[in-house]
Amino acid sequence: MEVIFFYLVALIAVLSGLLVVTCKSPVNSALALVNTFFCLAVFYVMLHAPFMAAIQIMVYAGAIMVLILFVIMLLNLGVEPLKKYTHTVWGIIAGSLVFILTFLFITRGQTSKVAGAITNEVVMREGHTELIGKAIFVDFLLPFELASILLLVAIVGAVILAKREV
């Protein structure tokens, strides 16, 4: 049962990814990308990471895609003109090369047999949010503070770039 569900969600995710790459109108690509984000959130729940699934929907589908759709509507782009792709053959060669190489080292490589302390039972018992909170605020405090400064810089930069007169 879980196998069928996984293959169904994987098929929808890959088809949505294909639609993102091949749609003529940017709005259709954006909606297909939102669909991909929802499928990935389902994958995160299947992988016992419900907090990351909620964050994925809130940040990606809820903030970034809304921003992209605002910009598409603001620029009033319309449908793309005739030529949608450039250098299609090189793109297909590069994409298939990336996939073949990645597939080879996925199936031939081995991860280390270290079984860490945080198993599925620990996640279910202690709560995923608490585990991530412990990791971020104890082990990874410096990257967390740097991320907040990065967001501040991004906000200031975006406002300055998009103003009419500086």
């Binding site: 990814g17 949608k84 990336v98």
Partner: protein, 100 residues
Amino acid sequence: MITTTHYMVVSAILFALGTFGVLTRRNAIVIFMCIELMLNAVNLTFIALSRQLGNMDGQVFVFFVMTVAAAEAAVGLALMITFFRNKDTIEVDDISLLKW
């Protein structure tokens, strides 16, 4: 039985699709959306491996990837708006001011 390899193959397919989109599409916003697709494929790999190795490091890294992606979205789209204001187009073939 769904192993980690299944999740990583799905992630590889999404990454390859994103690569194809970045290299071939002409609209700058669609290129940006394909970059987000690639970032999400890598996020899926991180979380799958974090589950297999029993560690929280992969998921914390995904958290920071999402933060950086949000910051990059804001700045990149502001850049595209400014460029559209000056050149009235957003095709990357026309963004060629720096060519010799």
